[in-house]
């Protein structure tokens, strides 16, 4: 994302990404249905088809040749699947799942036309073609079983005809529903019929009836396939829609008089059967949300910060007028307006933070793919149960969470959940369960990764830690069981008997822990042998990451937000002059006021040496040099507030972890500027979070 592609391109990428995510989600549903031997919902295959079709379309428009080619080949395969010319099987699922990763890689290419990808794309297309080739045995035409009018059969689309055959093959019974619909509300009525029918019956097609109807109503004959008895369907449909009757097998259909009952009901459109139109329909349905580059939100956040500065500047002017009695009324008004302004500002800040929230489902979907892959690689049976996928957290957290969670999930499958044979011996269900739970708790979000596998052997952990020299023999005697479990977070400790490809190289849990801590979160572990393991992660719902320059002042570490820094130059004390009681130096012919932070903060002992660098900060049209001892490069830090107890301390925007449990204070550049130029009494303090 770092190269400056134009906006349209970004829009495309975002949309393509969404389509690929939708594809991935639907494939998981398909995979689940297949593995449970459930009937595959034709609507699901249609949905997958539509995602790929749309992707093909937009990839073509934006010159993503490879994406287009792959999508095209997949579309053919999915069309075959849709029309029953190919069957869902393990191999086919593997090929489909492979597409998700491939699309993501192809979309990430700097050069979407890159010839370097030609070979791998062709190889993949060959794979797609080969799974699509499996012919399906046709055992007579099931349509012969039923006496369906030729004129009906003649107008069925290929897809409808396939569904009709498939339903008969599944042993479903066919019914004919005659219902009159109000012309004005026909789209809604049909949609509500679809909704009603969904649980019990599949709508094969609907055709206008030759009979009945008048100016305002139209009678439709709806062909339904259902496993439910006639009686049940009658109670369900007759009162609301119209007469329903079974289509008899191989006998003559009695011609029933049409009983038109017009009941206009609720929701949308006569499903268009051409793929193009349905693809467009799905595009329209997402039109009520917008995608925004997170950097734009960061920018807005900065603007809010600037506004706070403006507000304090106004305050200064107001303070200057104080004591002048003729302004009394105006002062009161200003004060009132000022407070209202602050309220709105704080609401604005909250609003922007809110926009940054995304559901955790985004990560969970990725994890679901990994669960599937890991389970297959390990030859284990794993059922994934997800709750709270709609729990929202800051976008940045979602991104930072992916790697740690991925690791935990792999660990759970590689080392937690036992092979089916072992599970059966232990009288457990042969299929292991991995649960991903998310929920809000106060201003935190809690994420649990829980498996019902073999659990962790606390004593073995201690032995390993001892053997690796991570733990003294004496200390090891005092450990509680929980302490032993926590050893798993030590760097260099791996408990798996064999080191596998994916996890268990002993670099896992400590990295997970470090990542979670870096986000200001916590991680804890609970495990019972033979019962399972639960890892709980608690995170703040939102966090603010800023880029800072790390400096030392009187041997203490501070972070200076980079937005305020223009450059850093060596500090030569002998060049310092004094103008009107202020220290200045000359930089490229210009006078620059300097501010010795060690002295301002009262940190310099009498014997300590002076600083050796000047960090030139700029704020609006003002410039100020901060004298510091040393520079330690730039770092992205998560800024945390100093807590209520220190809210009156000025000059610091917050604090941040810099590893090893050490903390660095983050300097509040606007406040320091204001303090230097305007005096300490009216220093504006910028809130760092609401």
């Amino acid at each position: 994302m770092s190269d400056p592609r134009d906006n349209v391109q970004q829009e495309f990428l975002a949309e393509a990404q969404e389509l690929v995510e939708a594809l991935s989600r639907d494939l998981l549903l398909l995979d689940e249905a297949y593995h449970r031997d459930e009937r595959v919902e034709p609507a699901l295959i249609n949905e997958i088809f539509r995602s790929v079709h749309t992707l093909k379309g937009i990839a073509g428009m934006f010159g993503y040749r490879h994406v287009g080619t792959v999508a095209h080949a997949l579309e053919d395969l999915l069309d075959d699947l849709r029309l029953g010319r190919a069957a869902v099987g393990q191999e086919l699922l593997d090929v489909l799942f492979d597409s998700v990763e491939r699309f993501q890689r192809l979309l990430a290419l700097d050069d979407p036309q890159s010839p370097g990808e030609d070979a791998s794309v062709h190889e993949y297309i060959a794979a797609i073609r080969s799974v699509g080739m499996e012919p399906q045995a046709e055992i007579g035409d099931p349509l012969d079983k039923y006496n369906i009018e030729a004129e009906v059969l003649a107008v069925l689309t290929e897809y409808e005809e396939h569904r009709l055959r498939a339903c008969i093959r599944e042993g479903l019974l066919l019914y004919r529903l005659r219902a009159a619909f109000d012309l004005a509300a026909i789209d809604d009525s049909i949609e509500s019929l679809r909704d009603d029918a969904q649980s019990d019956a599949e709508i094969i097609t609907y055709l206008p009836s030759m009979e009945g109807g008048n100016e305002d109503t139209i009678e439709l004959v709806v062909l339904l396939a259902s496993g439910v008895s006639h009686e049940e369907l009658r109670t369900k449909f007759e009162s609301r829609y119209g007469t329903i009757e079974p289509i008899e097998e191989r006998t003559h259909l009695p011609t029933l008089p049409p009983q038109a009952t017009s009941i206009p009901a609720a929701p949308p459109s006569m499903r268009a059967h051409t793929e193009d139109e349905s693809a467009q329909a799905s595009l329209r349905s997402v039109a009520d949300s917008v995608r925004v580059d997170i950097r734009k939100l960061d920018h807005l956040m900065n603007v809010v910060g600037e506004l706070a500065l403006v507000r304090s500047a106004v305050n200064r002017v107001v303070d200057g007028l104080q004591g002048d009695s003729i302004y009394r009324q105006s002062m009161m008004d200003l004060d009132r307006i000022g407070r209202s302004f602050e309220r709105q500002l704080s609401e604005l800040r909250t609003g922007i933070l809110d926009v940054r929230m995304v559901p955790l489902g985004q990560v969970f979907n990725k994890l679901a793919r990994i669960v599937r892959q890991s389970a297959r690689d390990n030859d284990k049976q794993v059922r994934l149960v997800v709750t709270g996928a709609d729990t929202e957290v800051d976008k940045l957290i979602v991104e930072e969470l992916t790697d740690p969670l991925m690791h935990l999930v792999r660990n759970a499958i590689d080392h937690g959940i036992e092979p089916s044979s072992d599970r059966e011996l232990a009288h457990k269900r042969s299929e292991g369960t991995l649960a991903l739970n998310a929920y809000h708790k106060g201003s935190n979000v809690v994420i649990e990764v829980e498996d019902d596998g073999g659990g962790m052997n606390a004593h073995k952990l201690r032995e390993t830690a001892l053997a690796r020299g991570l733990l003294g023999a004496e200390a090891s005697q005092e450990l509680s069981r929980q302490d032993m479990l926590n050893l798993v977070f030590l760097p260099g400790l791996s408990t798996s008997k064999e080191v596998t490809d994916m996890s268990g190289r002993g670099v896992g849990m400590d990295v997970v822990k470090t990542n979670i801590l870096r986000m200001g979160g916590m991680i804890s572990i609970a495990s019972e042998e033979e019962i399972g393991t639960k890892i709980t992660i608690t995170l703040p719902i939102t966090l603010a990451i800023i880029r800072t320059l790390i400096v030392t002042i009187a041997s203490r570490t501070f972070a200076l937000p980079i937005t305020a820094v223009r450059e850093a130059i060596p500090y030569v004390p002998s060049e310092v002059r004094s103008i009107q009681g202020r220290e200045v130096i000359t930089v490229r012919g210009e006078t620059l006021a300097i501010c010795d932070l060690a002295r301002v903060f009262g940190l310099r002992g009498p014997s300590e040496r002076e600083g050796s660098f000047v960090v030139v900060g700029s704020m609006g049209n003002r410039e100020l040099g901060f004298v510091v001892d040393d520079l330690h490069g730039q770092e992205d830090v998560i800024i945390k507030s100093l807590g209520k107890s220190l809210s009156s301390v000025r000059g610091f925007a917050g604090a941040t972890d810099i590893g090893d449990q050490k903390v660095a204070l983050v300097l509040d550049a606007p406040a320091l500027f204001a303090e230097y130029f305007d005096g300490p009494e009216i220093v504006p303090t910028l809130e760092t979070r609401p």
Binding site: I516, L517, R518, M519, G520, G521, M522, R556, T557, F601, G602, L603, K640, S641, L642, G643, K644, S645, L646, V649, R650, G651, F652, G654, A655, D657, D660, Q661, K662, V663, A664, L665
Partner: protein, 165 residues
Amino acid sequence: MSPGTVRATATLAPDPTSETGAVPVLAVCAGEEVYGFPLSSVREILVPPPIALVPRAPDAVLGVISVRGQIITLLDLPKMLHLELEQVNPYGRVLLIDNGDELIGVAVDSVIQVYRMEPNHIEYASAMSAELSDYVVGIGRIPARDQDAEPEMLILIDPVSLLGG
């Protein structure tokens, strides 16, 4: 009776298992004095992590520490009570105290033990004329095991007023 004391007594929740309404109190030692915190307010006892000094903070603030990613203000107990004692030894432990608003770290020399303080052994600050600091609920007397020995005294701290408000 200052408002602080009213709130504090609410946090001195008696042990429900006690028939006499005894309050569990964690006794700690800091700068030659013994202090007591209502056990219900003590979240955790830590080995002191590295402390980052906060320039311009009040005198009693030693700095901030990071506890599992959370930034926590660390207080020096004797300084809170304006007892001018020179801290000679490095702090041995940090208590994490929930003052109802945020977690506050309190640096102490050592943790002694938990006492079950009987209500009639607590002398509330409001009942004393002495100008005791707002942070003090009162003085607790721990009867010595030896009948003849002097009972030990501890200063009962009001966690709610620790930098609260």
